[in-house]
């Protein structure tokens, strides 16, 4: 399948390893990964902070970049960006765009998936040939869980990883406290939420806490690093891309 990869602004700029892992994984599964070079950002940060005029060009840029009919599916290693594309671009297009934009947005939204959705629902795989002999706990990020309803797809993928020791995270459904600019505007409340999350993670004794969003992992990983916990935050794509021949090559704390 010809799959358009959206790196997300955060992934492209700060956490490229998770995007590389996504590209490697899909290529290994036999798919043709294309990277429309004009892509930048989905505009979620703007929309969630209360700005809907400013991201209009971003929404248009996204719809144009991925609108190409030869791209059969669009994937991104981020539940929140996928949620924004599927649920928020429409709002922006209706308010400040035109009918053409709305049509473009609808076309792209219909073929946009977060990584675990693409693998399980579209490509029909749960066993991706990964090998990751570590103790891992999984945090279901809020937007994957409640906006996209990915359900247990990430867990099904993880359970099929060879060598993995998957441990349940207490209070898994509770928000980690990231919330985009919430982490700055309400830093103290965000921190209180983060502390409960990192306490729960360290209680599992896991070496790795994984999730489907680099943004939440940046927050959780930043908290784990600050308390000098031995647990690392690692994007789900990196676990799924690791094999016996090419284990996770990537450096510490790079989500």
């Amino acid at each position: 399948m010809r799959i358009g990869l959206f790196a997300t602004c955060l992934g492209d700029t700060l956490f490229p390893d998770a995007v590389k892992a996504t590209a490697i994984l899909l290529t290994r599964l036999g798919h043709d990964v294309v990277f429309p070079p004009g892509q930048t950002c989905c505009g979620q940060m703007h929309i969630n902070t209360g700005y809907q005029r400013e991201p209009v060009p971003l929404v248009r840029n996204f719809a144009d970049g991925f609108g190409d009919a030869s791209i059969e599916a669009v994937v991104m290693p981020s539940g929140s960006c996928a949620g924004s594309v599927r649920h928020q671009h429409r709002i922006v297009a209706d308010r400040y765009g035109d009918a053409t934009l709305r049509a473009g947005v609808d076309t792209v939204a219909a073929k946009t998936y977060e990584l675990s959705e693409l693998l399980v629902d579209v490509l029909g795989v749960t066993r991706v040939g990964a090998y990751f002999p570590h103790r891992v706990t999984y945090h279901p990020t809020c937007h994957s869980l409640r906006m996209l309803r990915v359900g247990d797809k990430p867990l099904r993928l993880l359970r099929a990883v060879e060598g993995i020791d998957l441990v349940e995270l207490p209070g898994a459904d509770s928000c980690c406290g990231f919330g985009g600019t919430f982490a700055l505007k309400n830093a103290e409340t965000s921190t209180a939420m983060l502390h409960d999350k990192t306490d729960n993670i360290t209680a599992t004794g896991a070496e790795v806490c994984t999730a489907g969003d680099s943004s939440c992992l940046m927050h959780i990983g930043g908290g784990l690093s600050r308390i000098r916990s031995g647990t690392r935050a690692l994007h789900l794509a990196r676990i799924l891309a690791a094999t016996r021949t090419t284990p996770d090559i990537l450096t510490k704390a790079s989500v």
Binding site: F35, T40, L58, N186, T189, T191
Partner: protein
């Protein structure tokens, strides 16, 4: 927008400075103090955790729970779409049955109406059923100011009133207090209470009961709120757990009910839906212990003088907002508070309003506006959420609170002038819309490496990012972006190897 003759003025918000729809500090500031209160966080964590679990178990046992939610949502949406007509029908029916209906535009009018009605009875005290509407308009404070003493009869409201405190939860107003604190409040404020009173729930309840019984039997006027009003029949409904409400609704001679206009339901039959949704969502009970229904006046039975005060106080303004009006569907069950991770840490007082938690964060700014004054604390409320969505999942009438929060944030930024944040957002968008500029900015961000420590982490950032770095490390930006890796020789080689790996040893993919 220019205004010209003949154009309808937007409906008024609840006026600034009256009632309890606005705190005196912005949310982050108020939350700061509450977050420092360990006792509060323990009390809240325990209480909300317990209610959450109970709610899930009783909603899970109904096979038609989702259908009930859909029905609740549909009935409420229909109600809002024809609110004027339903309210007029309600007025007609209540009047036909011997009640008197009063219309109050805002808190000041509602308070004046109630005070006048109480005075007309010759009484200088009233007993009260727990009521959000009267808390919203600050009725107790107003009555006291004109020499009428209000007595709260709901146990938790009584605790709050005796302690000269404010409720912090829609349904469990004293959720921020534990038993030891309550014992102390009773010992300090209930006249003649046993000085050796301990903190056993039964003993605390008995102390309150002794105090309240006398009030029930001697007070001639009661003030209540209403959970529902049925337009078709003129019936009012109060749902409660203790029976103290029923005492208020039946023993006095005069009953004055203050009700937000959004509480009306079209048909008697609709109660069937809401009397299932409400208790299960709020206290996690299958049915609440007391449901009181009354229709006007029944000669020889119950209060012989009944007044219904219909309160607007910003509700038509909320109704006029095409997207925001969904917040008026709220039945005040408090399920959203009990699942909210922000509420769980900060408590209700941080929101400054009678309506705390997720629904408060949308309803309060809608009723009272966000810009009555510069730095209006209400303008901080839509941001008091991580948008985790737990509230939407829990809401029995499916109010999409996260989307409403995002909408209100947008309305707020549209109403404010130029701010540093707005400039930054515009600048970011201007860069992100031009791929070449964006790629250059990405390169510049790699400069962040210079501030990283030897271990590749950044532990201190300048304002406004210092709020982040106070508790979180940041990994140094990578040397190379994804896009440059993807088009590099190394990137191409890696992907070629990945493709070859598949060709050599597959098919691994199976149909698990």
């Amino acid at each position: 927008m220019s205004t010209f003759l003949g154009m309808p003025a937007p409906p008024p918000r609840s006026p600034y400075g009256t009632g309890n729809l606005r705190g005196d500090r912005a949310f982050p500031r108020a939350a700061h103090d509450e977050l420092g209160n360990e006792q509060l966080r323990r009390n809240l964590g325990r209480a909300t955790g317990t209610i959450r679990a109970k709610r899930l178990s009783v909603t899970g046992e109904l096979s038609d729970w989702e259908a009930l939610r859909d029905a609740g949502s549909a009935i409420k949406t229909d109600t809002m779409n024809r609110l004027p007509e339903l309210l007029e029908q309600l007025e007609r029916k209540v009047t036909e049955r011997g009640g008197t209906v009063h219309w109050a535009r805002d808190a000041t009018e509602a308070n004046a109406i109630v005070a006048r009605l109480v005075r007309a009875t010759g009484s200088d005290e009233v007993i009260k059923v727990k009521s959000m509407a009267t808390q919203e308009i600050g009725l107790n404070e107003h009555l006291e100011s004109v020499g009428i003493t209000p007595y709260e009869t709901d146990l938790a409201e009584l605790i709050v009133q005796l302690a000269d405190d404010k409720p912090s939860h829609i349904l469990v107003p004293a959720i921020h207090r534990n038993r030891d604190e309550i014992r102390q409040i009773f010992r300090d404020h209930i006249p003649g209470v046993d000085p050796d009173l301990d903190n056993a729930p039964a003993h605390l309840a008995a102390a309150a009961r002794g105090y309240l019984r006398e009030k029930f039997l001697t007070t001639k006027v009661a003030v209540s709120g209403a959970n529902f009003a049925v337009a078709e029949t003129g019936t009012l409904a109060v749902v409660e757990s203790e029976g103290n409400g029923r005492m208020c609704l039946t023993l006095p001679d005069t009953l004055i009910t203050v009700m937000g206009i959004e509480k009306v339901l079209p048909r008697y039959q609709d109660l069937e839906v809401f009397l299932q949704l409400l208790p299960r969502s709020s206290t996690g009970e299958r049915m609440n212990p007391y449901t009181s229904l009354w229709t006007g006046v029944t000669p020889g039975d119950g209060p012989q003088d009944f007044h219904l005060v219909l309160l607007d106080n910003g509700r038509t303004a909320a109704l006029a907002d095409a997207l925001g009006r969904a917040a008026l569907n709220c039945i005040r069950c408090s399920a959203c508070l009990n699942v909210c991770p922000v509420y769980e840490r900060t408590g209700g007082h941080a929101y400054g309003s009678t309506y705390p938690g997720p629904i408060g964060a949308v309803l309060t700014p809608q009723l009272a506006g966000m810009h009555a004054a510069k730095d209006d604390p209400n303008s901080s409320l839509p941001y008091a959420s991580s948008l985790c969505g737990a509230c939407f999942d829990a809401c029995p009438v499916k109010i999409d609170i996260p989307s409403l929060l995002v909408e209100l944030r947008h309305q707020h930024t549209e109403q404010t002038g130029v701010t540093p944040e707005k400039l930054a957002m515009k600048a970011a968008a201007a860069v992100m819309r031009r791929p070449a500029l964006y790629a250059a900015a990405q390169k510049a961000s790699a400069l962040g490496r210079v501030v990283a420590g030897r271990d590749g982490t950044i532990s201190r950032l300048p304002p406004p990012l210092s709020g982040w770095s106070d508790s979180r490390d940041t990994a140094a930006p990578p040397r190379e972006t994804f896009r440059s890796w993807f088009s590099s020789d190394e990137g191409r080689a890696t992907l070629r190897a990945a493709a070859a790996e598949r060709n050599s040893d597959h098919n691994e993919e199976d149909a698990t």
